[in-house]
């Protein structure tokens, strides 16, 4: 077996409480690495088109990669892959916490959970004894994710759902420690299987090709991170909430259900404000991560819990026009405890507020008013009253009540917190990303609107190129499985330290903006490993990974996801953005919204797709994608 892998897949059938250990397929591991990539390959091969995402035929795949189980910073994540009940297409999400480490210690690369249990159940996996125990989970059913994990104890590593997963809220997530695999409704799939929790333990060690080099180099990387302006400073000091003020200044902070791009009270919900007023010095981190981007806050009546991240601050703050950090923290806790994605939740709330404002739906909540929001969040998690509608997300709500033009989703997945009208490449990424409107499947906005070297985000230059490179890289990162925030370290310190108004800086940004296809050619070059994750992969597995290799592997994964969606009936018409984004402007000088129509044909061409957005046979062959 290739080093870095445990070499085993554990298959569990909940319908008859049976299990089997199978060997990991080395050929698939070489082509798709692990994590999201390997999981997607399994999902594609094991399921026919058209399965019910909440039925027994949808497997729930937990997948780690070769970096998990090592002490590399940010290598604590696992991926979950299944058909999404929210979008009807490919579903996946990654999660920090400690479950990935637990899986590798138990000697399991991938866990596939098949079919459904007849009654609430939980699973205990002991990797040292090769044993799987099935327990009645009736007593845990109904408990929040915090209480559930407390009951399960600290001896094992857990992945659990809360009431939202049990009630199949379409954007329910799976929680490990305080982190959540939030997007696309993977928790609803776990709930449909009546699976409350998976607990795993073991004492195996990761076998590496060159442990000495890995150790030496990891010490170097820790120093590099510590010294980096983003990973060692801004994210450490202010968490991801540091983006609030930046997005606000760039007019891309979703406000009032994306009606505007700036919020007058943004400062009061920013990471800097959190640091000064709420945090009192407590930062939290995923295991082995020196970045510590998590914040702990006090929530009244609960105590100290995980605080809100940028997406929550925006989607449940500015987008609801609420500048009250205490209330947002409380809602963040509620969502985590119920086990729900705060992006889709926030967007569903803002959509309900706009329907309310237009007199279409008496949702009982209004923009700018926190009254009734906590109660509604609980109702969503339990599918009570109007909460039952909101639990289905914005696309289904708009089908029921109207308002499709301001239902802020792509392919059924609610948009995250970067308004693409001020970030054109991000708009292309939202429109084309296989799981729907998400930013962490590429994070193009970092290269054009919030990062240190930003090109003009409102012209067409490079806007169909950046998303290809970024999506490919994200696919590879999500297959190792590393935290996507690691990519924020790629732009060197020297660039961060330049005066952004200087001529030198402007010349550099201009040169970058005019790279055109050179960008993809440069990124595709297969030289020696340069970046830390390329070197880690190489030291662990013994194979050489360069940026070019990762681009190729990422493109393979991305195209396979695309093929999955096409098989499910998606077409080019699904590569779009909400009407509000396409036709309304939030910038004074803009006549209309995002110019997606001008960018999409070029994006398809860059991808090697035909004019209908279908990967050509040549592309599939070049990427060795077996269909």
């Amino acid at each position: 077996m290739i080093k870095g892998y445990a070499g085993r897949i554990l298959e569990i059938d909940l319908a008859n409480c049976s299990f089997a250990f199978k060997p990991l397929d080395e050929a698939i591991a070489r082509l798709y690495i692990g994590g999201k990539g390997y999981g997607t390959r399994l999902l594609y091969d094991r399921t026919p088109a058209g399965i019910d995402p909440l039925g027994p035929d949808n497997p729930l795949i937990f997948a780690t990669g070769p970096l998990n189980g090592s002490v590399a910073p940010q290598s604590n994540r696992f991926a979950v892959v299944c058909k999404s009940p929210l979008t009807g297409g490919i579903g996946n999400a990654t999660c920090g916490g400690s479950f990935a480490l637990g899986m590798k210690k138990a000697g399991i690369d991938i866990l596939i959970v098949e079919r459904c249990a007849a009654a609430p159940i939980r699973i205990e996996i002991d990797g040292d004894r090769d044993e799987v125990l099935f327990h009645d989970a009736a007593e845990l059913w109904g408990k929040g994710t915090y209480a559930t994990q407390e009951c399960l104890g600290k001896k094992q590593h857990h992945a659990v759902i809360g009431p939202a997963g049990e009630n199949q809220v379409l954007y329910a997530g799976i929680v490990s420690n305080e982190r959540i695999a939030g997007r696309t409704g993977v928790g609803a799939v776990m709930g449909s299987k009546r699976l409350k929790a998976v607990s795993v333990q073991g004492s195996r060690k990761l076998d590496m090709e060159d442990p000495e080099k890995f150790k030496e180099y990891t010490i170097e990387v820790r120093k590099l991170f510590k010294d980096h302006p983003v990973l060692g400073n801004s994210m450490k000091r202010f968490g991801t909430g540091a983006i609030v003020n930046t997005a606000n200044a760039r007019n891309i902070l979703p406000t009032r259900n994306f009606q505007r791009g700036s919020f007058s009270e943004a400062m009061k919900i920013s990471g800097e404000y959190l640091e000064d007023h709420e945090l009192r010095g407590v930062k939290s981190s995923c295991i082995h991560c020196p970045v510590t981007c998590g914040r702990d806050v006090d929530v009244e009546g609960v105590g100290r819990v995980k605080g809100p991240e940028y997406e929550t601050l925006a989607l449940m703050g500015s987008n609801l026009e609420i500048g009250n950090l205490k209330r947002i923290s409380e809602w963040n806790y509620l969502a985590d405890d119920l086990g729900m994605d705060t992006i889709s939740l926030g967007a569903s709330l803002s959509f309900a507020m706009e329907l309310h404002e237009r007199g279409v739906l008496d949702a009982g909540i209004s923009f700018g008013d926190p009254e009734g929001v906590s109660e509604l969040i609980r109702d969503i998690g339990h599918r009570h009253g109007i909460g039952d509608d909101l639990a289905n997300g914005t696309r289904r709500m708009s089908e029921k009540y109207g308002g499709e033009e301001f239902a802020m989703h792509v392919k059924g997945l609610e948009l995250s917190a970067y308004d693409p009208r001020g970030s054109f490449a991000q708009g292309v990424e939202y429109a084309t990303t296989n799981r729907g409107g998400c930013h962490v499947q590429g994070a193009s906005m970092y290269m054009e609107s919030v990062g240190p070297l930003t090109i003009n985000p409102q012209n067409l230059k490079l806007k169909a190129d950046i998303p290809v490179v970024q999506q490919n890289l994200a696919c590879a990162i999500n297959s190792m499985v590393l935290c996507i925030f690691t990519t924020y370290g790629i732009i060197p310190k020297a660039v961060h330290e330049m005066n952004p108004n200087s001529l030198r800086y402007r010349a550099l940004a201009l040169a970058f903006e005019n790279m055109g296809p050179l960008l993809r050619t440069a990124m595709g070059m297969k030289g020696p490993p340069m970046l830390w994750f390329e070197k880690w992969l190489s030291y662990i597995t013994g194979s050489k990974f360069s940026g070019g290799h990762l681009q190729e592997i990422g493109a393979r994964i991305f195209n396979l996801e695309r093929m999955y969606n096409l098989r499910e009936g998606f077409t080019a018409a699904d590569d779009t953005l909400p009407d509000r984004i396409l036709h309304e402007s939030t910038f004074e000088h803009m006549q209309s919204g995002h110019p997606l129509g001008q960018l999409l044909p070029k994006y398809y061409k860059n991808r090697g797709w035909d004019t209908q957005g279908v990967p050509t046979p040549r592309t599939l062959e070049r990427l060795q994608i077996r269909i």
Binding site: N248, A249, C293
Partner: protein, 87 residues
């Protein structure tokens, strides 16, 4: 002519206000000069901070226009932008 200044958190702490309204500046450079002269020591700190922040007018960076010479209009929002990361 009046413009609104949207400050970074650090600038806002230095100047003791979350936002500023300024009458009279015709260009972005005027904005920096006016604040610097009006706020004494805090104004000097502010000017220092402008060297590590990009500047946007109505959300669009002045780098894509005429830099510090970018002309301002009535009601414009001049925002100071610090690079940030997260998700």
């Amino acid at each position: 002519m009046s413009v609104t200044l949207q400050l970074t958190y650090e600038m806002s702490k230095a100047l003791g206000v979350p936002r500023l309204e300024l009458d009279g500046p015709e260009t972005v450079a005027d904005v920096v000069r006016t604040v610097e002269s009006r706020f004494g020591d805090a104004g000097a700190d502010f000017a220092k901070l402008t060297r590590v922040t990009a500047i946007a007018v109505n959300g669009v960076l002045v780098n894509y226009r005429r830099g510090m010479k970018t002309r301002l209009g009535e009601g414009d929002v001049v925002a100071f932008v610090k690079a940030a990361a997260g998700g």
